[in-house]
Symmetry: C2
């Protein structure tokens, strides 16, 4: 799988609003049950058959009850449904909170007539407040009663917090034997006003037949390059998760390895779906006025590390090799000085260079090249002459690219997505009261 | 030396405006030479005799020409003067920039009749723009002609950028044999509007007689606990430095080790002077409305690390042991979500807990205790009931304390200082144009 930037593939984009019901075997619904004042706050995704499942979860030490529950349940490799709510994150609620997470999945299982162990849960919203289980259970009854395969808009809305729009995507692609596979997905991003912290949820469905272990490996790889390569403010949540369910109803020969043509087709499509949603999350960051893509290249892993690995007959994984470039990108993407300059359309290469300098990577400042919105601002240890008005104008767009090249031998590339830092970020996060 | 929080010592606080001329043997002056429009932009500190010198410099890979020059010169252990300018950081200017840094110290040396190698330089201001050396050299002539021992206000003003007030401090303390030692200091903080990035400069003078190697060890320790324990926004500069000059004119028996009574008295005073200025820098962070003290306790070094060290008959230094607690504090202090909540007087323990959770330290969320402005908000894995209005009111002060206790066996403590994150931070950093 090639993962540098947007990948050209043979996939066809479907109506985005199909979302998670685009693939065969999935139904879904969303409803309002009263945890939030008005908007949908409960969502259900159901597979008609036992689906292969894989999930990745928050790396925060503090993890919500649903995260702990799901980690156990996805280990079996099979699942049938995801029940999710917004308005309450059910995090940091003690043993009672865990019981509520279990009860939520049990209620869905009971209505659907399936084993509770096959149901996963997800919550996003305020933390440290017990779930209003009467409302939640009434909501679960409602979404179980109105399952449909028409579109996934009500589901996507059911997991939103302060997202300004719902995030959906669906694609299809050709597999061996004349079969057609589909992937659908919904996500929510960094709305933190009510929940106290960003929560990123991504739910992906597919009808491709695939071994759960292969699915897990592919998901980990795709998430590394997409959802784990975005950052709104460097803060992670107790509730972050991405789950993929595979119904196997596309009729393809089961993908049992990483290297077949079908495996490559599917992983490329999965990567593109994850990338699309990840970029939408960055674009819709709190108070954001623009999507910022930070492309870092020419960053070699430290020689000491390579030597130490070689001495033990070990090799770095591609992600470990690229991690140093991504680290540079994340330091730049999270720098408040860089982000405020982006908001102000200020071609401030000094802030970018200073962030690179504190990213933990060793390099020669004389060889760095910095490009911003298509203009070279710094190279060979010095700023290049540029017209500030022209560059500022080029930055005044909905999407801005920062390119940083450290020009090291054996250097790797990585891309990180973020947004700018505006008055509205402060407003949204300072004016809310717990 | 005890370094937990403000240290009670026998030192007596002097008139702050004496600053760097409080100790015997120092003269200084500041002037306006036209790099900046109106305010003082050139400053000189001179010792009448060869002073013992120690310095600590930015950890950023990208380092200003004056930093590279000073690192060489302090290695000798002796210096006579520091010449500093504001308005231009003389960073990222290629070989010509280094020549300018050398020329600046040579001009001062020539007027003062001393060896150029004994003069240190410091610059803060815009980067990537060559220094107006004609103005700078005229300014150096002026400050050399008007040296005085009266007060250091004009000097402190000469190194300011967007600091809203000048930062000075002076103390004295008793040494063995009826001698009296003094320490004076000036500093500038995180004004980033013109310079493109924060630069922290601290200049400390003392008349205590002390071996340069001991001075260096003490300075490193004191800076770790003070200047390196503050953060306005996590960004570091190409020009950061703290330099201490010791004239030895107090008449004390030269401090030649770390463990004598005089050594302890001096290091404690040095620590307190550094702490005072570091806290002023945090308090005067861009757009800040309050000083925030993050006290972290009960953080043990990872068992694996301790075992690995023990297996090799090594022990962690106190700073290495405390580094894990400080890392937790810095993650909290740099979290935009925590900082905006502090600006909004929002008792948002969830954001604090989430920041602790992503700080890289492993811990049991069930044992964490979080206190904010004197109120316990979270313990034993759950929020405690609290009145949001009461806590919000307690946060609406000029100084707010966050206490985080992970309650680990063998746990260490560390304190970090920062400020809140307001609309004015965005305004200052977004509305400036390069």
């Amino acid at each position: 799988m090639t993962v540098s930037g947007d990948y050209q593939s043979e996939m066809r984009v479907l109506d985005a609003e199909l979302g998670v019901v685009a693939p065969k075997g999935f139904r879904a619904s969303g409803a309002h049950c009263g945890v939030k004042r008005k908007r949908n706050d409960i969502a259900l995704i159901v597979c008609d058959v036992d689906a292969a499942v894989a999930g990745v979860f928050t790396q925060n030490v503090v993890r919500a009850h649903c995260v702990l529950l799901n980690e156990q349940r996805v280990a079996s490799g099979a699942a049938r449904a995801i029940v999710a709510n917004s308005g309450n994150a059910n995090a940091c609620n003690g043993p009672g909170g865990y019981d509520d997470a279990v009860a939520m999945t049990r209620a869905a299982a009971s209505h659907l007539g399936i084993a509770p162990d096959l149901v996963l849960g997800a919550s996003t919203g305020v933390i440290g407040v017990r779930m209003p289980m009467d409302k939640i259970e009434a909501g679960i009854a409602a979404v179980c009663a109105q399952l449909h395969a028409s579109d996934a808009k009500d589901v996507a809305e059911g997991i939103m917090t302060t997202d300004t729009y719902s995030k959906m995507f669906a694609v299809e692609f050709d597999l061996a034997g004349g079969k057609v596979g589909r992937i659908g997905a919904i996500a929510k991003g960094s709305g933190m006003i009510a929940p106290n912290m960003a929560t990123m949820l991504g739910f992906v469905t597919t009808d491709v037949a695939i071994d759960p272990a292969v699915l897990k490996a592919m998901l980990a790889r795709c998430v590394w390059h997409t959802f784990n390569s975005i950052s709104v403010d460097g803060d992670t949540s107790t509730n972050d998760m991405v789950i993929v369910l595979a119904s196997g109803l596309a009729g393809n020969e089961t993908i049992a390895g990483l290297e077949t043509k079908d495996a490559n087709t599917f992983e490329t499509a999965l990567y593109n779906v994850c990338l699309r949603l990840a970029k939408e999350i960055a674009r819709d960051g709190e108070g954001a006025t623009k999507l910022v893509e930070v492309r870092v290249s020419g960053v070699a892993p430290p020689k000491q590390l390579l030597d130490a690995y070689a001495a033990n007959n070990l090799a770095l994984t591609p992600e470990q090799r690229m991690g140093f470039a991504r680290g540079v990108g994340k330091t730049v993407a999270n720098s408040p000085l860089v982000k405020t300059a982006l908001f102000g359309n200020d071609p401030n290469w000094g802030r970018i260079l200073a962030a690179v300098g504190r990213s933990g990577v060793q390099f020669d400042p004389e060889t760095v090249e910095i490009r911003l919105a298509g203009h070279t601002l710094y190279e060979r240890g010095k700023p290049t002459p540029f017209n500030g008005y022209v560059v500022s104008d080029a930055m005044n767009r909905k999407e801005v690219v920062i390119e940083i090249d450290l020009r090291q031998d054996g250097g790797e590339s990585a891309t990180v997505w973020t947004c700018d830092f505006s008055y509205d970020y402060v407003k949204i996060n300072a004016e809310y009261h717990t």
